[in-house]
């Protein structure tokens, strides 16, 4: 909701300061100057609205008009094809006013406004993030017509008795109804000012609910007044998004018949209005099957949501042939490597040339071209990977633990560069610190004046530009005005991103150790940010419940991924950079398509906020960890949960697959690092075709078999895990003395 509102406000503050960038943004987002080059328009325009609710659109139009965003009104109407009812009288009034103010700039300004309008329908499209203007009246009005408040308990217990009396096979499925019905009935009572009835209702049936809804019930029980409903986003979302239940046809018929016999219209109305029952044919699911999938704010994911094709394969390495040539030169020039090794690498290169059938097109998302330094890095990577240790249950990785001493509980985020040479820490005191973990010290580039004196033709110019006087093992980056919640290195090690409580994401240069850009837009704490594996793009997610996709050279987001019902707590790029995964406090994980901003997967099953995500190196699987101490494994292609790893006793903040994907490492607040046999976990499931067809999973309870090792640290929560290119596991965390 903030995302929509912030647009116009922000506009005013920024238009004076950055007019030139402003016009740049205009050309990109209005879509008329779209070109294939990366700098101006890296992505094709977002998918046009297809079948949205007329009413919602009208409401948006009203909102825009009230805020005098006439151009947006125009564009939105044109795009939505709503030419009929509105006429252009508003344009004269408000649009004219703006035009007068600043003739030359007005055009760019006004078209700039279209940015927000382009974003707005998208948001409303993808789900139900609503405006303050819409929510209270529209959303709650559904509750206005009422039956006798005293009968609510009778209705509910009637249904309860019925469900308890049905056959066992149906009971588990129908029990899913309890929680959403309970919440809606309670809220209805509250909304209609029957405070005492509501309290009595809560007290009587609150204890029956599943234990994993405890946290929500705690929120709910504090809420006893109609006024409280207004400000509470969580419950408004409960209202606007229909709670999804998956029930077999037989069970549904049974329920329908019962409600019709009893003329229990109250409950029937709620089911009709607020619940979405996804009916499937076949055997009713068992209790354990249901439990494994439930727990999120809005019920399970609808089946059709996860049917979209996801290109989860890896991109083929286009540069392979180039570095091979380079490499020969390099090897001969610099080190004079023996010839044997080259042939080995040749074979490796040809292997990866085969196109994965599941991979997206190479240019589906425009990616930055490789620079020479990137190619050198690739070569380094390949050299290192030939020395990689092959891990497995018999061959566990060594773990090197980096403890932050004297951090006084202030360490909030850690990241390693891919080549494990640098380590960055984000702290609660708003600073970011960078350490070199190799003997090579960190040096700044010389100042502009000094740079002029350097002979640019000399061979070691890259060495000469560095200021030897500034060499030190660590550097401090100051600039944020609140705790830094995440840091992320760019793959080329030239940049660092940090996101903070102050609502900004900052881009830092690791050449000069200064801040380059502050990306504003979230306006609320930004919980996580992550660089794309190819650089250039990055994604951020925060308290405003949206994730944003940015490009480093644009100060406005390229995509806004809206749909989560609560804070976006963690964000990760898919290894092929075409998708973004986000985890949220609403206990779901969503996968978004970078190309069109659509949500292509919704994974439910966590019973607490999701705090860590990790893609397997082959891009097929996703692992997620949450506050409940469980790691869940997901098959992205089929959209299925395929494993549950139990063992941790506290929030899991770090997850990482080994470089070849055989081992999953998880690090938690409970001061342990655990290693899991991911090969086995994935193999067990991949053989099973039936589950893939129906979507109903039987999770084997084999956490203990999959657990390969538990390593306790000394009162040091594990905040980050990283596998070096040779498969050494690096862990990091802040030592807390008590």
């Amino acid at each position: 909701m903030a995302a929509v509102q912030d647009g116009p406000m922000e506009l005013d503050t920024e238009k004076e300061t950055k007019p030139e960038i402003l016009s740049d943004g205009t050309s990109k987002l209005s879509g008329n100057a779209a070109s294939g080059t990366l700098s101006s328009s890296p992505l094709t325009a977002g998918g046009a609205p297809k079948q949205e609710d007329q009413q919602t659109l009208i409401a948006v139009l009203q909102f825009l008009r009230r805020n005098k965003l006439s151009e947006s009104v125009e564009i939105l109407r044109r795009e939505a094809g709503l030419e009929d009812q509105e006429d252009s009288q508003t344009l004269d009034g408000s649009g004219g006013g703006k035009g007068d103010r600043d003739g030359g700039e007005a055009n760019s300004l006004l078209s700039r406004v279209s940015i927000t309008s382009a974003a707005a329908p998208q948001i409303i499209l993808s789900t139900s993030v609503t405006n303050e203007q819409l929510d209270v009246s529209v959303v709650l009005s559904a509750y206005s017509q009422q039956g006798d408040p005293s009968l609510y308990q009778v209705y509910y217990s009637g249904l309860k008795n019925f469900i308890e009396s049905v056959l066992d096979c149906h009971r588990a499925e129908l029990s899913q109804l309890f929680y959403p019905l309970f919440v809606h009935m309670y809220l209805e009572l509250v909304y209609n000012n029957h405070e005492n009835e509501a309290k009595a209702f809560f007290e009587k049936f609150g204890g029956d609910q599943e234990c994993y809804y405890q946290d929500d019930l705690r929120v709910l029980c504090g809420l006893t007044k109609k006024e409280h409903l207004k400000g509470n986003e969580v419950l408004l979302d409960f209202r606007t998004s229909r709670f999804v239940l998956r029930i077999s046809r037989d069970s549904y018929q049974l329920l329908k018949r019962h409600l019709q016999e009893r003329h229990n219209n109250q409950i029937w109305n709620i089911i009709q209005e607020h619940l979405y029952i996804d009916i499937f044919d076949g055997m009713p699911r068992s209790k354990s099957q249901i439990d494994s999938m439930s727990g999120s704010f809005a019920g399970e994911a609808r089946r059709e949501v996860n049917k979209v094709k996801v290109f989860h394969g890896l991109l083929k390495e286009p540069e392979i042939e180039v570095p091979l040539d380079d490499e020969e030169d390099e090897a001969e020039n610099e080190e004079g490597k023996p010839k044997k090794k080259k042939t080995k690498k040749d074979s490796m290169g040809s292997k990866s040339k085969k196109q994965d059938p599941n991979a997206p097109q190479q240019n589906r998302i425009p990616l930055p071209e490789l620079k020479d330094s990137d190619k050198l890095d690739k070569i380094m990577y390949m050299k290192e990977s030939t020395k990689r240790i092959r891990l497995g249950p018999e061959n566990l990785p060594s773990i090197c633990f980096y403890s932050f001493l004297n951090a006084y509980q202030g360490l909030t985020a850690v990241d390693f560069t891919d080549d494990s040479s640098l380590l960055a820490g984000g702290f609660a005191d708003s600073t970011v610190r960078i350490w070199s973990v190799t003997p090579k010290k960190l040096r700044k580039v010389k100042s502009a004046g000094e740079l002029n004196l350097i002979d640019k033709e000399s061979d070691d110019v890259l060495e000469r530009i560095m200021d030897e006087k500034t060499a030190s093992e660590s550097k401090i980056l100051c600039g944020h005005s609140g705790p830094v919640y995440s840091v992320s290195f760019s793959p080329d090690r030239n940049y660092l991103l940090s996101s903070s409580e102050d609502g900004t994401v900052r881009l830092w240069s690791l050449q000069t150790f200064t801040c380059l850009v502050g990306y504003k837009g979230h306006n609320y704490p930004v919980w996580d940010t992550h660089f794309s594996p190819f650089g250039y793009y990055f994604v951020s997610g925060g308290h405003d419940r949206v994730a944003r996709l940015w490009a480093t050279d644009h100060y406005q987001p390229l995509r806004i991924f809206a749909g989560h019902l609560a804070d976006v707590t963690c964000t990760r790029f898919h290894p092929n950079s075409n998708y973004v995964a986000t985890g949220s406090t609403d206990r779901t994980i969503r996968l978004w398509d970078v190309l069109n901003g659509n949500c292509v997967r919704i994974f439910t099953g966590h019973k607490g906020p999701v705090h860590s995500l990790a893609f397997s190196p082959n891009g097929k699987f996703l692992a997620s960890g949450s506050t409940d101490g469980r790691v869940l494994l997901w098959d992205i292609g089929h959209g299925l949960m395929i494993g549950e790893l139990k063992g941790h006793t506290d929030t899991i903040y770090a997850l990482k697959f080994s470089r070849d994907g055989e081992i999953l490492a998880s690090g938690s607040m409970d001061n342990t690092v655990r290693l899991w046999d991911s090969t086995k976990a994935f193999d067990d499931v991949e053989t099973d075709d039936f589950t893939a067809a129906t979507g109903h999973i039987h999770l084997p309870d084999n956490s203990q078999e999959l657990l390969l090792g538990t390593y306790h640290s000394k009162s040091t929560p594990v905040t980050h895990l990283h596998f070096t290119r040779r498969n050494l596991l690096l862990a990091a965390g802040g030592y807390s003395s008590q």
């Binding site: 007290e203 061959n395 403890s403 509980q409 360490l411 704490p525």
Partner: protein, 537 residues
Amino acid sequence: MAEERRQKLCSVILPTESMKAMAESVGVGSLQEDSCLALSEEVSYRIKEIAQDALKFMHHGKRRKLTTGDIDHALKLKNVEPLYGFQSQEFIPFRFASGGGRELHFYEEKEVDLSDIINTPLPRVPLDVSLKAHWLSIDGVQPAIPENPPPVPKEQQKTDSTEPLKAVKPGQEEEGSIQTKGQGASSAEVKGSSAKMVPLVMKPRSTHELSVEQQLYYKEITEACVGSCEAKRAVCVCNKCYLFLFQVRVNVVQNNLALLIYLMRMVKALMDNPTLYLEKYLHELIPAVVTCIVSKQLCLRPDVDNHWALRDFAARLMAQSCKTFSTTTNNIQSRITKTFTKALLDDKTQWTTRYGCIAGLAELGHDVIKTLIIPRLSVEGARIKAVMDGPVVSNIDKIGADHVQSLLLKHCASVVAKTRPLPDMVDQYKVDYGYLGTMLCSHVVKARAQAAFQAQTVNRTTLTITQPRPTLSVSQSGLSTSSGSRAPSIIKVPSSLTLMSTRPGTPTQPSPPATKYIVMATSAGAASTHIIESHTF
């Protein structure tokens, strides 16, 4: 139970009185009951809401503790001005008071003199964040280094040592205690060096040459223990306490007071270490501590050195271990008491030993003083008088008597003050306590005045004297679980024990290398009498 808790949650609402109080504080005089109720409900709801948001910040800050900063950030989300001035972590401004059926939380606001703040030197700058790397695991095995937690949790140590089957086979038990979960065999190898040291203790009586490695190891440990770093001492001492007894033995006979003090501090570190299951090593520790309390001579110049302080410290340690470890099966306290009493009753006991016995008993608590020391006051008084008033025998005796006297007065006065009814008549005291009566009386008067001192000593452990059990369950060392109380025996060891090699630079180097000593602990359990025997080749 969960349901109960939830109902409780549901009903938690701020009392209307606090609404009234707050209204008054901002100048609203008469607030109606209805408005109070409405306000308190609203405020309670908002507070809960803010607390929920603050929790989010705690989670993202990767902490387990909610801080005031989290609440500030949560307020900021709601566009509310944060509360300033609550940055300190320890400072909780509310104080609690109750009385007259009312409970009250209030601010404790002190007047602060600004000049004081200006004149105080600046506090030390806190240490900067630094990075330290260590191996959490090497090829899947967790190395036993100080940076990693002890491989065996305390509970497991306990089961290991109480499990009879394992206790019988010490070799097996050692391996079991060191195993990390799942990777037993290889981890034992990794920790070979420390594991190998254990048999050294298990057979204290067999005398053999220490290998060069063991000597090196011993040196390292000693340096760590004697060094100035308290933390290092606690860490290094962890699994090496068995070496400790050796050191006490050696140092007692060397009269090296400084080192003994260090060693006693080491015992303290051991006891304060919460992760250590010390019960296993009590039979090693207690004799050493007792030695430091009652030994005839602890230093080279008993007339000058303050070995009394060491005795006091050791006595306190003894009392602490009695408190912590005494159970019905090992009866440490009663056995210790018996030992002390026996020495005290002996007429020939030296003043130093006498001092130690009294100190040891006195530390055990008021009941012990009352039952064992106070009845002896007149006897001791007579003895002190004999030394003080009689012909000058030796300076050492005089000092000893003097110390015993002040010790007796110190400890008895508080007890007497509590048990004896008023008034304090000097004559009556003289009758009851003999020579010491006069001084005791004045001390008691003082003690009565110092109520605070009493309060401190009130909750000491009480003593229940029971028949000492002849057997000792902790018996890994092969120490004889003797039946009945055997007379303390002197065991002469033709010692080829070259524990103290003449390695230069070692702080524990003995002065006369030709002489070898050993201390043996025997008879009714580990915690009993100690005889020091010197044996010269």
